[in-house]
């Protein structure tokens, strides 16, 4: 093993450059007046949360006059490419965030997560929803947001047409046929961007109820040419061939797909709960709820939906201000602060005792406790190249390929990239 501390000057130079790149989205809320205050750096990717986080940071600084917070927001891709690289020398990202899955695994392998096990504020979170931030019995990160990565549907439209939420694949197809008869596209699928990686979760959740399926795929015990994935691809093919998703779906962006649902040209948006607020912004008259396609018969269905605990808060193990960083996470996990964040961003949270005020959050909160959801399978693929192969096979089928051929091609890529 080699140590490459000689890289520090290069990384610092890169860091200076990249910090410059993120300058426009930097929010410095530091208390410049307090000479004795310790400034901590908080980095993340959610530009849309800037206003509410600025306000929360101001409250934190008022309550903790000896600590100031400099928040830097990177666009999502830039966060992956540059933001987390700055964690290495400990000068940036005393508090940082991570996605579950490949990103979490990589940061954990690099030893950049401070172990938060045993901290008092951990008990502020729902213990069942924070397991995704655990590794080797240590609580390395605390997921803050809880999203449901399953289609959003127009409940009002369903009621008007006398449709009920389908409980089986047969019922789903009958429902889709009724919508088509009424000149409504059943599913708006944003295939040009996030469609495949979101919709694959609910499409496969009951075809492969084994939650270790992707772990087995990665270690060679399973293949994509087996029934569970070929059936999933066949189901996608059926959606495309029967017109249950719009024409040219692979060229449709999420904005276009959202417009279809907002204009009531389509009944479902194949993304997730995080788009409900935006849909209501486009058409406040919509009545929305969540619904995942059940791709098996009712008696075989194990899951009703998909959840993802994400935006995982963490403390940088290289930081020299760990205690102050933990204070900030503790503050974010207070129910009243979390409630403010939830209601102003339109997100469910993993924090206990959050009070949801918005109608859409209240109406869908039953998915947290009353429905059987499973953690987003895609995030259980810890090898990004294998994830790309899996998603590529969906795009391949929607582009006209035979499901088995697409599965075989994807399996070849899996074999090439298996570690």
């Amino acid at each position: 093993m080699k140590n490459h501390s000689f890289l520090t000057p290069g990384i610092l130079a890169l860091g200076l450059l990249l910090t410059g790149c993120a300058g426009e989205s930097t929010s410095d809320t530091s208390n410049e007046g307090g000479e004795d205050s310790t400034q901590i750096s908080f980095i993340h990717w959610r530009g849309e949360d800037k206003a509410v986080l600025d306000d929360i940071i101001a409250q934190f600084e008022e309550e903790n006059p000896d600590i100031s917070v400099e928040m830097t927001i990177y666009p999502s891709e830039q966060y992956q490419s540059t933001g987390q690289r700055l964690l290495q020398d400990g000068s940036t990202g005393d508090v940082f965030t991570s996605f579950p899955g490949a990103q979490f695994e990589a940061i954990a392998s690099a030893g950049l997560f401070e172990d938060l096990s045993g901290e008092d504020f951990v008990s502020n979170f729902d213990e069942e929803l924070i397991t995704v931030g655990q590794k080797d019995d240590a609580q390395l990160a605390l997921p803050y947001q809880l999203v449901f990565n399953m289609p959003v549907y127009n409940k009002g439209m369903f009621e008007e047409l006398g449709l009920e939420v389908p409980k089986s694949w047969t019922e789903f197809q009958e429902m889709a046929d009724t919508l088509l008869e009424n000149d409504i596209t059943p599913i708006a699928f944003p295939g040009a961007d996030i469609g495949p990686n979101q919709f694959m979760n609910s499409m496969m959740m009951n075809n492969a109820p084994d939650e270790d399926i992707f772990e087995k795929l990665q270690n060679g015990e399973e293949t994509l040419t087996n029934e569970w994935w070929v059936k999933t691809l066949e189901d996608f093919q059926l959606l495309e061939q029967n017109g249950y998703i719009q024409d040219d779906a692979l060229g449709t962006s999420q904005d276009s797909a959202m417009a279809m649902v907002a204009n009531e040209e389509a009944a479902m948006l194949a993304t997730g709960s995080y788009h409900m607020s935006a849909l209501l912004g486009l058409n406040p008259d919509l009545q929305l709820d969540l619904m995942a396609p059940i791709t098996v018969e009712e008696s075989e269905a194990v899951y009703e939906g998909i959840n993802t605990a994400t935006f995982m808060l963490a403390v940088n193990s290289q930081s020299e201000k760990k205690e102050q960083a933990k204070e900030f996470i503790a503050f974010l996990s207070q129910p009243e602060i979390a409630s403010q964040y939830a209601n102003e961003t339109g997100q469910h949270l993993t924090v206990n005792d959050v009070e949801y005020e918005s109608e859409v959050l209240q109406n869908t909160a039953y998915w947290i406790d009353e429905r059987t959801t499973r953690f987003q399978p895609r995030f259980l693929i810890t090898n990004a190249q294998i994830e790309a192969a899996v998603l590529g096979s969906i795009e391949n089928v929607l582009g006209g390929a035979d499901p088995m051929t697409a599965a075989e091609e994807a399996q070849q890529l899996v074999d090439e990239n298996r570690e």
């Binding site: 093993m1 490949a102 690099a110 040009a192 279809m260 990004a384 190249q385």
Partner: protein, 291 residues
Amino acid sequence: MKISKSIYLFFLPGLLLYTLFFVYPTVSALFYSFTDWDGLSQSFQFVGIDNYERAFTGDTIFRKSIGNNLKFMLVVVVFQTLVALAFALIVLKNNKTTIFLRALYFFPTILSSVSVAFIWSFIYDPSLGILNQLLELVGLGFLAQNWLGNADIAIYSLAVTQVWFHAGQMLIIFVAGLQAIPDELYEVAKIEGANKWQTFRTVTWPLLAPSATIVIAYTTIQSFKAFDLVFAMTGGGPNNSTEIVATYIFDIAFRSYQFGYASAISVIFMIIIAIITFLQFKALRSDRISY
């Protein structure tokens, strides 16, 4: 004349910048290409030539991305050069109209890649996009396509955007080259009875070769490095059909955390660009003449 040694100090700032921003990253990439560094950890192991072996023998997507890059490069080099040259010939003379047109053609170049990607993603949108609607309007609806969603044509759709984006820049180089050709040569060609095509072939093109060399070489390098446009418009999809080497390197380095392997691909990529550029220079140099 004796040159003071202190003059060498003037080289220092440039040399320092060149070393910091070119030599150091290049040598670093070469160094890491022999390691399994993940880009985050403090340590790594040397893996010899494993990364290179993987790139050449065990990576389907890398080979596909080179193929996509060559398709993209060929379309862009041919069409960008021809479009820029054609427009340069149109706006060659200096008058108010041509100066305005030069500015108009140059305009896309000053836009940011993300803006261009946004504009063209909208143009190409299969349902809301202007292109398909325009085709429908003029009775050519049968030509309407899923421009970025069809794996067979998406890379060419991106190439068209790239040509639109950068042709204006190349036009300026051609205009400068054309204006440097002495009028006397055209007068001689006229006296000799050469027609327009003969004049272009025997006078304009040979004397334009230095500009064409710059345009073609620069366009080649630019199209190989067209990361931002591709990344913003398709992200390499659908199903890797628009994955080019630059986007693939990003994926490997920053999504898969295989910095060592990404460095190896970068080194191979650098060598491929160097070879193609060298061959182009050599081919185009043979076209040059001097009077």
